[in-house]
């Protein structure tokens, strides 16, 4: 029930950028592009309020579309980890 409540509350805040789960292929493509292991990516905890509503599990990758004061828009990736 708590998760459902947060799903309503969280994503509509100005501070919270768009988070989306990436497909396996997309994730692999990103890892290939940056030539890195998933653990070398920035991390995000599974219980992070911004993603609990998305049904994520540890090991997923999240694409974050940020509003940027320098570039207008930018993309960031985070790897979902256990707490």
């Amino acid at each position: 029930m708590a998760a459902k409540k947060q799903r309503i509350l969280v994503p509509d805040h100005d501070y919270v950028p768009k988070h989306e789960i990436m497909s396996k292929n997309e994730a692999e493509e990103v890892l290939e592009r940056y030539h890195c292991n998933p653990t070398e990516l920035p991390l995000i905890l599974v219980d992070d309020p911004a993603i609990v509503g998305l049904g994520v599990k540890p090991g997923d990758m999240i694409r974050i579309t940020r509003a940027s004061s320098t570039a207008g828009q930018s993309t960031y990736y985070r790897y979902v980890v256990e707490v």
Binding site: D12, T39, L45, T70, Y76, V81
Partner: protein, 1247 residues
């Protein structure tokens, strides 16, 4: 870690004798100075390896301890293991299933367990502590009492039993390897039984050399002293054990042995007395050697000493070139530059050699190709040796004009604190530098000293020239604007030169033009009679196609400012050149434009020329400032006096109003506070008025006014204080109210409320202050000094932490920002990959400037809309979205021809590519410097009243520190809550929402409360308070009904709480306090609310913050609820939201102080702090403490525990970061050190 076996194996001698030397002064066999432990004196041969002092590394010995003792550095680990393992079977007191599960996590079965892995030991210990019986063998476990520092006691049914080291050792030796691995131990390198010492290694004598004083007496090292103590006690203990002494006495001796070994490792353990030297000084033992600023890590290993450097006092020389440094001849003759003899320079070299070391310019050493170094001091006949000079010889010659050297002033807060200058050898004993390079060094000439380093290799010189020259540091990487520029008299000079009416004769003009390095022909005379104007002279040095329009500071100050400085085709048409055109730290100035549009070298040339002619002009003009310049006409003095008297009368009036009780009140303030606010306000008006009169009665030709209005030095306030009135002196932002009983100084009557009795200074500096005024002034002055001292300390520590957290972060070849272990911090630096230092005030390039300069030469019809779109499309493909739209928009509205647009597009793309960051760039260090350096300029004033004192917030340096500390709760939490719907527009609805936000607890609604301390509590509700807070008695009853300790009887405004059972007084008081604290309405922790109208909508500003609860309140705009508590945002909105909030908070904190720091730096710090999925502090508990490198962590803080922990975990130092490589003496992998060469040995190995 060494096991006892290993200790014995490494040992070359067992040490048993407490004596060091015998009567003949020879080392005792088996003593602490045994010849087998290594050599001290030159010529002596080592008894173990046969080498002399230079080559013998020293050898360990050992002491066999009669009783085992605990190792103090591992005492916490011993404690944890005792708590976590079974006392009989030594297994972890956690069920096998749990262990299996955790070992899976530990074995990294999945990548996503990175964080859980680190928490495995914690979880095990947590669980183990709780278990009463061992889940493996079922034996009962007893309570463990740990008396710091070294005593463990087990408490069972029969009583308390001391756990002796020997028992601990036995238990530990049975712990299985798999259990240890779970706890993060590496059993191969560190078994826990080794925490109990049986054999103590004795370090080689080279570690603890003895010194011979002039008197011939030998003085031993502190460590030797401590070892002697250990050996003595050990011998005694052995003897008493053999003699069968009572166990109690033996135990005392064991404790003494434990004490001595403990202090041998660490002489600052809390709970035991320090060991002292005979002289009373505490001994410096192992831990003290490593730890702290002067310890081995920070003092010796991270801080290297260098040759080829010198230090002396600095003084100014405006005749130097900006990029030169004046070096005294005596220094130039000591510092040398290596030069290889070639066929092109032999002759010159021979002359230098003939001059020798004592005649400038000469040579100090000659190095022959076979490596033999000849010192010319000892060579009698130098001309012969000069003749033998051949190709390939290396001579170390004196510094000559034009050599490149590095010049530095501490504290080195940013990269501009070390710049490369060209040598100019001068007479005298000080280093000379151009006054205009003072701002980047933050130098002045009140006795400052600076350091000079001479790079010795071609590579070093090449890097210095390419990266560090003054001209390449004109633009500060902090904000992408110029940091070097004209200042003081240079500004005044250029103002005097370029103002209307300055006329120069043909001769004067030519002389000045030549001085500035002008080589062209004279322009046509611009003034009558064949003379020239000052503007013409200035224009000579402008690029011929330069066009620019700005407002001068002078015009802004005197005429209210319009775009008065007009430069057209390199000609200054109108306006004066002052601080806003050529000043230091002035972005968007003429200087900045030239540097950006024409490059650093032309900008430096321009500045050099302008400065020297300004200097020459003002010297001839004769500009001075003195006592007479502050003389006011009698009428003005009278006016000032009357003004102040008038203000005093107003203050008296305010005070009588206050006494009568009809003072106009301000919301949120008590009457006394309101009075104080009014008085302060009135008195500051009095000071301003006095200053204004003084300022306006001085003419425009007054030197002080010229300096203030052009920005050369001083301000109108300074003039006002010198000629008008000094005004109110304050301490801690308040008038001087306290000190003695009811008065500030004993010279006043008690409760004297005259403004003069509380620090208002009527006099000015020119007339002088009265003794009392002077004292008040000194009080305020002292505060300023203390503030500065405290601030430098605080910001220095913040800078150190920032540097430590960010030093190893660099830009990789794939444009990602990573630490050397590959962890990505940002996928694209600053999200747009632009280097601020190469940017145009933070932008990749300035399209509008490009269009402006194109417009002048542009010809032809304006391009069609389609063409514009096509061109924009063609060139902006690689740009980021924001830049693309800015450029497209600018191109669209400019009306240039097609060809012009093409040119602009091409140039823009070119500039964009040039502004990108380069791989290897030390983005981390530049970030840390850009945030740390302005820290020194911030205020220490903790509080600021936002609005009319209704809410105060922390700002300045304390707030910045709070943010990088990632505190759980800021000192002053506040929220800004935007409203939605009706509440946003109607005040009434907004108030209703505000009442739902403001916490109303029972105590806020009470008129009185009573209790008989045993059966009931009576609450009398206050109807007015309830009205204000919008609560009814029913609400209170509802709020209290969940408490089952009493029943509520409601009698109108009277509530009687009957306790369910008769209780003790203390219990009743507890219940009463609980009742008073119960929240009736609103959100807990919100202490105060204020309604403010912002952008047409109502906003609730609060004191106190509680984001999650506020989000649930009806009527608020959920998407625009803000709090300054970043950790709270991380908890309720997630890590990405926290990053955004952190960026916002850091930016506003810096911007509030008027400090410009580029967003990219703030973003990097925020991304770093949020990169692990939770907020990490910049400091030892966060980023700096979780570095992968042991050495880097040890060099930062908590040195010894870090090393001990690394030892038991068997950590491996990969030497990839910066600190590690400095410590071992390698090149650092940052910048040009990033480049590495790899070779594939065998292709087959690849997969």
């Amino acid at each position: 870690m060494w096991s006892p076996t290993e200790t014995r194996r490494y040992s070359v001698a067992e040490i048993t004798a407490p004596e060091t030397y015998d009567e003949d002064g020879l080392p005792v066999q088996g003593g602490l100075m045994d010849g087998r432990l290594g050599t001290l004196e030159a010529g002596q041969k080592c008894l173990t390896c046969g080498n002399t002092a230079a080559r013998c590394p020293g050898h360990f010995g050992h002491i066999e301890l009669a009783e085992p003792v605990l190792h103090i550095a591992f005492i916490d680990n011993i404690h944890k293991l005792l708590l976590g393992t079974c006392r009989s079977c030594s297994r972890l007191r956690v069920p096998q299933d749990d262990l299996d599960r955790l070992s899976k996590v530990r074995r990294r079965e999945a990548a996503y367990t990175v964080i859980s892995q680190k928490r495995v030991p914690e979880q095990i210990l947590e669980k183990a502590k709780k278990s009463k019986d061992c889940p493996h063998c079922g034996k009962p476990q007893y309570e463990l009492i740990f008396t710091k520092p070294t005593i463990f006691i087990e408490k069972d049914d029969t009583g308390e039993h001391r756990l002796l080291p020997i028992t601990i050792r036995e238990r530990f030796s049975q712990i299985t390897d798999t259990d240890l691995e779970l706890l993060g131990y590496d059993p191969a390198t560190a078994r826990p039984e080794w925490f109990v010492l049986q054999a103590l290694p004795v370090p080689p004598v080279t570690v603890r050399p003895s010194i011979i004083l002039e008197t011939g007496i030998r003085s031993e090292d502190d460590l030797t002293h401590k070892m002697v103590d250990i050996i003595r006690v050990n011998q005694r203990l052995k003897e008493s054990k053999e003699a069968g002494t009572p166990p109690l006495i033996v135990q005392d001796l064991v404790d003494l042995l434990q004490y001595h070994t403990t202090t041998y490792f660490d002489n600052e353990v809390s709970g035991i007395p320090q060991a002292h030297h005979r002289s009373g000084r505490p001994l410096k033992t192992l831990t003290q050697r490593l730890k702290g600023k002067e310890g081995r890590f920070r003092g010796s290993l991270s801080g290297k000493r260098v040759d080829f450097s010198s230090r002396t006092v600095i003084s100014p020389d405006p005749n130097l070139d900006l990029s030169e440094v004046g070096v005294p001849e005596s220094v130039a003759m000591k510092l040398t530059m290596p030069e290889i003899v070639t066929e092109w320079n032999v002759e010159r070299m021979r002359d230098l050699v003939v001059n020798g070391p004592d005649l400038y310019p000469g040579v100090n050493y000659i190095v022959r190709p076979d490596g033999v170094k000849i010192r010319l001091d000892f060579v009698e006949d130098r001309s012969t040796i000069a003749k033998t000079l051949e190709m390939g010889y290396l001579i170390e010659r004196h510094l000559l004009d034009g050599d490149i050297v590095m010049f530095n002033r501490q504290p080195s807060l940013h990269q501009m604190s070390i710049m490369a200058h060209y040598v100019k050898v001068l007479p005298g004993k000080t280093f000379r530098l151009h006054p205009s390079v003072c701002p980047p060094y933050n130098a002045d000439f009140d006795g400052d000293e600076m350091n000079l380093h001479v790079p010795q290799s071609e590579e070093a010189r090449a890097e210095a020239i390419l990266l560090m020259r003054v001209q390449d540091q004109l633009i500060s990487p902090r904000y992408g604007g110029p940091i070097i520029g004209g200042l003081r008299d240079f500004i005044t000079g250029s103002f005097l030169l370029t103002r209307d009416g300055t006329v120069l004769s043909r001769e004067e003009f030519s002389n000045l033009a030549m001085l500035g390095g002008y080589g062209g022909s004279l322009p046509a005379p611009g003034a009558p009679g064949g003379a020239f104007t000052g503007k013409q002279l200035f224009s000579l040095f402008l690029p011929k196609d330069f066009n620019y329009v700005i407002t001068s500071k002078w015009s802004k100050g005197t005429r209210g400012g319009e775009k008065d400085v007009v430069i057209k085709n390199g000609e200054l048409i109108s306006g004066v050149i002052d601080k806003s055109s050529i000043g230091a730290e002035e972005p968007e100035s003429v200087l900045h434009r030239i540097a950006k549009d024409y490059g650093n070298a032309p900008a430096k040339r321009f500045l050099n020329s302008v400065l020297i002619i300004a200097k020459q002009f003002i010297t001839h003009y004769g500009f001075s400032y003195g006592y007479a310049d502050l003389e006011l006409p009698e009428r003005a003095r009278g006016e000032i006096f009357d003004g102040i008297q008038g203000s005093y009368d107003t203050v008296y009036d305010l005070m009588s109003q206050y006494k009568r009780g009809d003072l106009k009140l301000t919301r949120g303030l008590s009457p006394a506070e309101a009075l104080e606010a009014h008085i302060v306000n009135e008195l500051s008006k009095a000071r301003d008025a006095a200053g204004g009169i003084a300022d306006s009665s001085l003419g425009h030709t007054n030197a002080g006014k010229i300096m203030a209005s052009t920005g050369a030095r001083g301000s109108a306030l300074n003039i006002g204080q010198m000629a008008g009135s000094l005004g109110q002196q304050s301490r801690r932002g308040q008038r001087l109210l306290r000190g003695y009983s009811n008065r500030a100084l004993p010279h006043f009557r008690e409760n004297d409320d005259d403004p003069s009795a509380h620090g208002f200074v009527k006099s000015n500096y020119r007339d002088g202050l009265s003794a009392l005024e002077f004292f008040f002034h000194a009080m305020a002055g002292r505060e300023g000094l203390v503030d500065t001292a405290v601030r430098t300390q605080q910001s220095g520590y913040m800078q150190r932490r920032l540097i430590n957290a960010l030093e190893h972060i660099r830009l990789e070849y794939d444009n990602t920002v990573r630490d050397p272990h590959g962890h990505i911090i940002q996928f694209l630096y600053g999200e747009d990959g632009i280097d601020v230092a190469k940017s145009d005030h933070g932008e990749a390039f300035n399209v509008h400037r490009l269009i402006e300069s194109q417009r002048i030469v542009d010809s032809g019809r304006a391009a069609s809309a389609a063409d514009v779109a096509a061109i924009a499309e063609k060139y902006t493909g690689s740009f980021n979205p924001r830049l693309r739209s800015t450029v497209a928009e600018a191109l669209g509205g400019c009306g240039l021809s097609r060809g012009g647009l093409e040119k602009v597009g091409r140039k823009g793309l070119d500039l964009y590519d040039k502004a990108k960051v380069e791989p290897g760039q030390a983005v981390g260090i530049v970030t840390a410097q850009s945030i740390g350096e302005p820290g020194t300029q911030m205020t220490l004033r903790t509080f600021h009243f936002a609005g009319i004192r209704e809410r105060n917030v922390t700002l300045g340096l304390p707030r910045l520190i709070e943010l990088v500390d990632a505190r759980k709760k800021p000192v002053t939490p506040t929220m800004d809550i935007h409203l939605e719907g009706e509440a946003a527009s109607s005040r009434e609805a907004a108030i209703e929402v505000a009442l739902d936000v403001l916490q109303t607890s029972v105590s806020d609604l009470l008129a009185s409360s009573d209790t008989d301390y045993s059966t009931h509590i009576t609450l009398e509700l206050d109807p007015r308070a309830m009205g204000d807070r919008g609560c009814a008695a029913g609400d209170v009853v509802d709020a209290l009904s969940s408490n089952k300790k009493f029943k509520i009887e409601e009698h109108g405004n009277l509530l009687v709480l009957r306790l369910a059972e008769e209780s003790e007084t203390s219990a009743v008081i507890a219940v009463r306090n609980k009742v008073h604290g119960t929240t009736v309405r609103g959100v807990p922790d919100i202490e105060r609310v204020t309604l403010v109208q912002k952008d047409g909508g109502w906003v609730i500003q609060t004191t106190g913050s509680n984001l999650s609860k506020v989000l649930a309140v009806r009527g608020i705009d959920r998407s625009r609820v803000e709090t300054n508590n970043v950790s709270e945002i991380a908890g309720t909105l997630g890590i990405e939201a926290a990053r955004n909030a952190l960026i916002r908070q850091l930016h506003t904190t810096l911007a509030d102080q008027g400090l410009e720091v580029d967003m990219r730096y703030i973003m990097l710090v925020a991304d770093l702090m949020c990169s692990r999925g939770y907020m990490q502090q910049i400091g030892r508990h966060g980023v700096a403490g979780t570095k992968d490198s042991v050495l880097a962590r040890a060099a930062f803080e908590i040195t010894v525990p870090t090393i001990a922990h690394a030892a038991l975990g068997g950590e491996i130092e990969k030497l990839k970061g910066v600190t590690e490589n400095v410590i071992v003496g390698n090149n650092i992998p940052i910048g040009s050190g990033t480049v590495d060469l790899y070779m594939q040995v065998s292709k087959k190995r690849q997969k």
